[in-house]
Amino acid sequence: MINISRLKVDFISGTQSKKIIEGIDVHVDEGESVVVIGPNGCGKTTFLHTIAGLNDNYSGTIEIEEDRSRVALILQEIGLLPWKTVWKNATLGLDLQDVGDKSRAEELLERLDLMKYKTDYPSQLSGGERRKLGLVRALSVDPKILLMDEPLVSLDEFTRERLQNTILELWKEKGLTMMLVTHDIEEASFLGERIVVLTPSPASVKEVVGNETMGDVGFRRSEDFYGTAQKLRESLP
């Protein structure tokens, strides 16, 4: 469970201060998937980083029921370490937490078809494979909460849809509490049980769009999918 209330973030540089987040209240239930959508530069990334604990300069409250070690974050630029092999990148979280058993990483690599690249380096992978490796790295620590910052940005349509399917499958299977930030309307409609629409900078909640019928791969072709996407289009500034 994640509970965010009256979250405000100001960036201060020198004597100037700039409002990034004006006040956001969001509640995410255990096992729920919430997508945060908003225009570029509205403060989505700052919002997610603040929840993930990468930014201490905020006011308001962030309550997370889980232990910090069970919260995983996938950054927009993924942040794969170029000097580590695919295997070492996949097991990074486990190494950092001193977990000896790497079977979960192995299982995920196998499942996402990356095992064959085990000894390769990230620069040898395609864009889609790197994103998948980012997903493996985040999930190998068996998180309860998964935070994702535009995890599929700059991928071709085909790869993006396939990876959206993978994310959806993993979310259901592992019972993850998921929060995803994106500027892609269809991604939001496909992956969010609820979609929080943010205003342009400084960010605040403009509207919350319900999308309870999502949940299987076929959803993309249903009337409801287009209905949600349409609502989002109307809501976005």
Binding site: H49, G79, W83, K84, L96, Y121, R137, V141
Partner: protein, 253 residues
């Protein structure tokens, strides 16, 4: 690897040819015994071979002095450089000190060091360390400054502490640049070693070369220079090997 060896052999032949040509011209232009001052390559190589017995202890002594100095410099230089580059407070406090101390010609301190620490190897090592360390520290600092924030965030968001950020991000990211600074340090270190071995010692390649000058044994002078070249080449090859092992990711086609 075979191509590597071929490249070295071809380069060696090319340099030897230039050397031979220079010696030949000097012999034609300058008459008399003065022309002997530039020994030809064949004479120098054969002297190196036949006098190896007396050159070897000097080579070994120089190599030990240089390698120990390099290890100390790299350890302290890289450690402080990485911290200064990565921690903003350390940068503000220590960067000015480095900027002031780095350009001072360290040779002026050699007599001071010899008086304070005696005429043994310790003084010579301290002098070489003084010459090299700043340069390594500056390279490491710049490398650490350029570490991408997304790598740091990746480790931090996965629960990594500061030490783990150094271990998994800062050190491996900076390693190629640190090794480049080590290569530069080998050249600088040999120059410093030469100065440090010129006086108050009875062993070392610089001592051997100086001594040979005094007795007009010119081919021994050049044999000593060749020994220095071998020492430098050996160290460069070791650094290359270290880079191939620890920076494998940098060698992907």
């Amino acid at each position: 690897m075979r191509h590597g060896i071929t490249r070295y052999v071809v380069s060696l032949l090319f340099l030897t040819l230039l050397w031979w040509l220079a010696a030949f011209i000097v012999r034609q232009v300058i008459p008399g015994p003065k022309s002997m001052v530039l020994s030809g390559p064949i004479k120098a190589f054969s002297t190196l071979f036949y006098h190896w017995g007396s050159i070897w202890p000097n080579f070994l002594r120089s190599a030990i002095r240089l390698v120990i100095s390099l290890l100390i410099s790299v350890f302290f230089g890289a450690t402080t450089g990485l911290i200064i580059g990565f921690e903003k407070t350390a940068d503000r406090l220590l960067s000015p000190i480095i900027y002031i101390a780095y350009p001072v010609p360290k040779i002026v301190f050699l007599p001071v060091i010899l008086i304070l620490f005696g005429l043994g190897d310790l003084s010579r090592v301290i002098f070489i360390v003084l010459v090299i360390t700043f340069q390594v520290a500056l390279s490491a600092r710049d490398a650490a400054k350029n570490v991408s924030n997304r790598w740091v965030k990746a480790v931090e968001s996965a629960g990594g502490n500061r030490l783990q950020v150094y271990r998994h991000v800062v050190i491996p990211a900076a390693l190629p640049e640190i090794l480049t600074s080590v290569r530069i340090s080998i050249g600088l270190g040999i120059a410093a070693l030469y100065l440090a071995e010129e006086s108050f010692t009875n062993q070392g390649l610089a001592y051997y070369i100086n001594n040979s000058w005094k007795i007009f044994a010119y081919s021994d002078v050049f044999a000593g220079i060749l020994a220095f070249a071998i020492l430098g080449l050996g160290l460069y090859l070791i650094v290359d090997l270290v880079e191939r092992i620890f920076c494998k990711w940098n060698y992907i086609d």
